[in-house]
Amino acid sequence: MITNFILRALDGKITLTVAILLVVAALVPALNLLTTPDSALHIPTYAMSLMGKYLCYALLALALDLVWGYCGILSLGHGAFFALGGYAMGMYLMRQIGSRGVYGNPELPDFMVFLNWKELPWFWYGFDWFPFAMLMVLVVPGLLAFVFGWFAFRSRVNGVYLSIITQAMTYALMLAFFRNDMGFGGNNGLTDFKDILGFPVQADGTRAVLFAMSAIMLSLCLLVASAITHSKFGKVLVGVRDAESRVRFLGFRVENIKLFTFVVSAMFAGIAGALFVPQVGIINPGEFAPANSIEVVVWTAVGGRGTLIGPIIGAILVNAGKSFFTGAFPEIWLFALGGLFIAVTLFLPKGIVGTIRQGWTSRKTLRAAADQEKGRGTALLPQAAE
């Protein structure tokens, strides 16, 4: 049963993508660490970190695609789950600083000393222990998604309304995290990390491992997503997207289906955030900005929602474009991004991958139809009469 579930995940394209990701996970760190800077094949550390960042974004886009592309829930708040995962990781990293902070307080992070706090707030307990922090990377976004989804799906808030309240959710969280008394560093967020599991975060070796982890986690999540979408559950999911009431009248509990998917997706986003933070070295409330979540939607739309590969390609392409534009023509970037939004919705509603796939299947059906005509000349007639 379980093996079936896992085996189903491995369709051709997914296997290929996973293979590529794993090769990248090995190759890029190798080229970074084992070649000298003057070598033509050398990948500088900053480039590796940048690519690592793209992979985290790809995972975030994959998470969004699971709920949007497959279940029809357009979440405009996925940045919140990403940021929460990031904060969980950031809290672990803060605790690792120990007495090396500016104030040298072994117990309290610098910002707490600065605010004159005397002791660690309860919700920081346990974050110095890596396994606990990693658990929280999953649990915190998952729990928020669960509570939010429990209410929203049960009362059948959907479509645009759901999008708007998810946006309100991330906006409210942003406002909350900006407050100093929340105990997450306020405006400045968490930064100045020193090491992770005892390795300095800035070191090339650590960065290489973080990069590899990003690629591996992305492949893992891709496999999970693939297993889900290829199962009967995945078909129900698409059913919910296309004809929700039909699914209900077939006896499925739509709210549970949505809730499960939403929670899984939030956890993916949390993982992405957790991998993102040590690679960029900071997490602050700006990550909760509604605009960020909307940007994720573009990546997914560009790549092709409702396909698993699409969001990965979309996230990487759009962000590579962003890096290029903001470096070369900073003025133009927002024009380009805005134009991309419009162009994709108007001319490429299925995204890059979706459009390619559509072209491919329509050729296949044409060929199949042609074969059928040759073989059984009359078989098409009843259809033609329709």
Partner: protein, 539 residues
């Protein structure tokens, strides 16, 4: 209506006070009295001071002040009295009444007029009396206020004397209050003091509360109960006013929300278009105001007071035109695909923001306030600023104008027909694409007008729209999509709720709580306060 009657009252008051007869005393020239001080002994001087006070000429006030300060001198050559100020080795002499300089003299050319404590007391009451008796009503008002601030039993008689002569109603009332305050610190009878407490209580406001609180410690034990009762009454009155002020702030915030949301109530509420570029329409309206003001400053500064009135149609046309283009260029291809519209219009919003940033720069632009937009006036225990006042009125008038347009005009009928059943409407000969484009342009234009108003209270920067977009959607969704009244009630109630949460939890947390409440509310009523029912909305 309210405001005109307020104006009327204000003007009436002004007229009455202008027409009030000033003090009809024979002007007695105080100059000889002053000069007599040169040869007077203490008791004669006291007499002279009394006469000066009785003459009721406020010009002697500086002389008396100089007298107490020991700055009054007699010039030996002619025995005339001057105010002297140390200058170099000698004195600079000043004519006592006119304040004109009478030249410098050596120290030994003058003698100082001596003053003792009993004279000082006489001078103090004379001064109080003089200002209380001044023919200038604003001086009298100030004097009454001064007495109220530093009550003393000496002033009591003065003020009672002044009261006896006072005819101006407002000044009289103020003096009554000053008298009451003075009574409390005098050794008058308990009954009189009780009346005084009543008078102060009737005065109301924070001042009265402050006065009663300060005297409550030292008051005659027989009156403690009266003071406490008065304090309690004042406190509860104060709470009411605070509440009213809070409601006012809430309405003011609500009207801002209403302004921001009202265009969206059309594009989103009526047409069902998730217009994420709505905030940018507001922003364009604000920039239109800025440009209009720039042009006026450069070419016709006299028109500045009218700049907002001129900016309104300009902003409406500019944003309406942009809206029209957006509808024709993008949105019309996306009807029936709300989520895609959301993405495309978000793209539009990015482009508009960046365009404005490229043209005007990323910094805040200075948009001026015409004089009628500045300042404030008191209303009972509240303070009302003119700009908030106008914005509330403005947002309500836009609301009702729009309501009228939608419900009563032929265009509104067409619009509702199209949004309710496109196919049917088009088969009845309504040009649906045209109606769509115009409706979207109307919603955008209204957002632009809102921008004109919001430019008066917010920073005009390319990010202006971003700060309103979420709030606007919240208002429309909370109020109930497709229902203009819902938007009105939604905006005002969210504004008031916000302001009521603010004092206890702070602004940011208040806002967060409101967001959370809306999210919870939508779970209960997914279609908002005033939900449309029926099958059409379920599809």
């Amino acid at each position: 209506m309210r405001i005109t009657s307020l104006f009327a009252a204000f003007f009436a008051l002004l007229l009455v006070s202008l027409a009030a007869p000033s003090f009809a005393q024979q002007p007695v020239d105080p100059k000889p009295l002053i000069d007599q001080l040169a040869k007077a002994n203490f008791s004669q001087a006291e007499d002279l001071i009394g006469k000066m006070a009785a003459a009721g000429d406020a010009r002697v006030v500086p002389v008396l002040q100089a007298f107490t300060d020991g700055d009054l001198y007699v010039r030996k050559t002619d025995n005339l009295v001057f105010i002297g100020k140390t200058a170099g080795n000698g004195f600079e002499l000043v004519e006592p009444l006119t304040g004109e300089s009478a030249g410098q003299v050596a120290k030994n050319a003058v003698t100082k007029i001596k003053v003792n404590n009993s004279l000082r007391r006489a001078i103090r009451s004379a001064m109080g009396g003089l200002t209380l008796l001044s023919p200038d009503r604003s001086v009298r008002l100030q004097a009454a206020d001064a007495v109220m601030r530093s009550p003393s039993s000496e002033n009591l008689e003065l003020i009672e004397a002044a009261l006896a002569k006072e005819t101006d109603a407002e000044v009289k009332a103020r003096m009554e209050e000053a008298r009451a305050v003075s009574v409390l610190s005098s050794d008058r009878s308990v009954e009189e003091k009780r009346d005084a407490i009543q008078t102060i209580k009737d005065l109301g406001g924070r001042n009265a509360l402050g006065i009663l609180n300060t005297i409550s410690g030292s008051i005659d034990p027989a009156l403690t109960a009266d003071v406490e009762a008065a304090v309690a009454a004042l406190q509860s009155e104060q709470q009411l006013w605070d509440m009213a002020q809070n409601i006012w702030y809430g309405l003011s915030l609500g009207s801002v929300l209403l302004l921001a949301a009202i265009g969206l109530a059309i594009t989103f509420g009526v047409m069902g278009i998730i217009n994420m570029a709505h905030g940018e329409m507001v922003m364009l309206g604000a920039y239109s105001t800025f440009v209009v003001q720039q042009v006026i400053r450069d070419s016709a500064p006299a028109l500045f007071e009218w700049s907002l009135a001129i900016a309104l149609p300009v902003a409406f046309l500019v944003t309406g035109a942009v809206g029209f283009l957006i509808e024709r260029g993008v949105i019309r291809f996306l009807y029936g695909r709300p989520l895609e519209t959301l993405l495309a219009t978000w793209g539009v919003s990015l482009i508009l923001q960046q365009a404005i940033r490229s043209i005007f720069g990323p910094t805040n632009q200075e948009v001026g306030n015409p004089s009628w937009m500045t300042g404030s006036f008191p209303l009972g225990g509240m303070t009302i600023t003119w700009n908030r006042m106008w914005i509330i009125l403005f947002s309500l008038s836009i609301f009702f104008a729009l309501l009228f347009l939608m419900k009563k005009s032929a265009y509104g009928l067409n619009m509702r027909a199209v949004t309710q059943n496109r196919r049917m409407a088009s088969s009845m000969g309504i040009r649906t694409p045209w109606v769509d484009a115009l409706t979207f342009a109307l919603g955008s234009g209204i957002a632009g007008i809102a921008g004109v108003a919001l430019s008066q209270i917010d920073n005009v920067s390319p990010n202006l729209g971003q700060s309103y977009i979420i709030d606007s959607f919240m208002v429309v969704v909370f109020g109930g999509v497709g229902n203009l009244w819902g938007t009105l009630v939604g905006a005002l109630s969210l504004g008031v709720l916000n302001k009521f949460l603010e004092p206890s939890v702070g602004a940011v947390l208040g806002k967060i709580l409101v967001l959370v409440l809306i999210i919870l509310f939508i779970q209960k009523r997914p279609r908002g306060l005033f939900a449309l029912k029926g099958r059409a909305v379920e599809a």
